[in-house]
Symmetry: C2
Amino acid sequence: MTATVIDGKAFAAKVRGQVAEHVARLKEEHGITPGLAVVLVGEDPASQVYVRSKGKMTVECGMNSYEHKLPIDVSQEELYALLAKLNADPAVHGILCQFPVPAHLSETDIVAQIDPAKDVDGLHVINAGLLASGQKTLVSCTPLGCLMLLRDHLGSLSGKSAVIVGRSNLVGKPVAQLLLQDSCTVTIAHSRTKDLADVVRGADIVVAAVGRPEMVTGDWIKPGATVIDVGINRIDAPEKGLKEDGSVKTRLVGDCDYASCAEVAGAITPVPGGVGPMTIACLLANTVTACCRANGLAEPEGLTV
Amino acid sequence: MTATVIDGKAFAAKVRGQVAEHVARLKEEHGITPGLAVVLVGEDPASQVYVRSKGKMTVECGMNSYEHKLPIDVSQEELYALLAKLNADPAVHGILCQFPVPAHLSETDIVAQIDPAKDVDGLHVINAGLLASGQKTLVSCTPLGCLMLLRDHLGSLSGKSAVIVGRSNLVGKPVAQLLLQDSCTVTIAHSRTKDLADVVRGADIVVAAVGRPEMVTGDWIKPGATVIDVGINRIDAPEKGLKEDGSVKTRLVGDCDYASCAEVAGAITPVPGGVGPMTIACLLANTVTACCRANGLAEPEGLTV
């Protein structure tokens, strides 16, 4: 058996297309343009790339993008003052602070400053609580992306057994909540799990989110299962030769050993090109959702939980 | 094999004893007396019994009990004004509103009015969010009671496979969070789960919280497993004959068929006398915890998560 490849890149483009349609309708019918504010502290090169990419896609979907770049030594007071201003700004429907931030700032405390209704990263403790109690919330982007891919590929998830490998607050736990809400039988496995391979082998749906390169191998997978690989790990790839500076070239791999898993699974997300592209698409979807809620309008269909 | 009976009544008395010791120390060393405020709307007889019982045990542990009885037609504004007063009162460390409330009031909205730091029932969305993200919180009483019984009986729960039958916000989901935090491999099963008996049969720890009388039978239980029965169901007991008014007598049963489960399990909680008595004990424990936190003192050992 060779697994169907779940093309996250194509699906993310489709989601962005839906976002753009909703945005066009909001403008036309209500004169409202959703706006996303991104706050970047310091000049970390990777963060700059992410922020640029988010801003570009925000604008491509017809939304307003507000970028706020703060110096690396910005005081907590100045940062919080900016967040308070964005909370109060009716043109801003979504706010995110690009992490990591310098060590003198606390990520938890920063998130707590953001209005939960504008927390499009879905990180605020109130949003975690709403998710945990099955209420309307803003769901963090990677878990939402996993759910969208699964719903798109499988249709109803009701009654399916799902094993989530990894119990992080950012991915494992919220994915578990979402799949439970969609009536999967949900198992959360982790480093302390005994007979992990056996546990995973029982699953119709496997979500790997541990951050260990190629840990899940094909013999762990039930034939025909759907595998969602959230891991993005950079490993040495000596077969690709050396870089100009003499160091070994690298490549990205997931938490699943793609080759062996793809032989057994019914469907699998590749890395890169699987879950990764969904993250920004879901950020844009959340911004539209937040905008609709702020204006008392119906939720954008297909873009929320 | 005949299961060890987990005596929740005796363990709850022990917990109340620990609470009383902590309270005595708080008084002696810091001149602080923890206080629990209970709000009762209307005159539901069962609720009156619960409130009286809570008040009595609060006082027996050396704490102050404040009972507020409001008429059944109390307005939302009056109720919220009382809650605001209790939130602001430094002598009150825990607040709970006895549910159910009359239909013109919303339980969710009432809980949202209570300061999360005084929400000793652990129902506030912020407390759910803190639990979901593994932070310090006040955990609702029945789930906390289940965890205490399991820790007392099994010691470390790390690596054990736990199946929770039932996904309610009040019990199933918070129990899952707690057992995950204690490093169990956690499965949440429910009405849509396929082969439920098979799933339960894989568990070292079974927590039954569905509210269906005697649903889990002995053939679902792995030999030696620990079974925590959260259900409290009243069923007809014609074998006990008739009441004075001619109706059939009743008895309380759990979600597990006790007789057949006790033949297979290693340990099991009875109904009544298992999880039930732990609920009030944990309410008192939470009140001491909230009091210590409010005063910047160390958490009472063994009474929190």
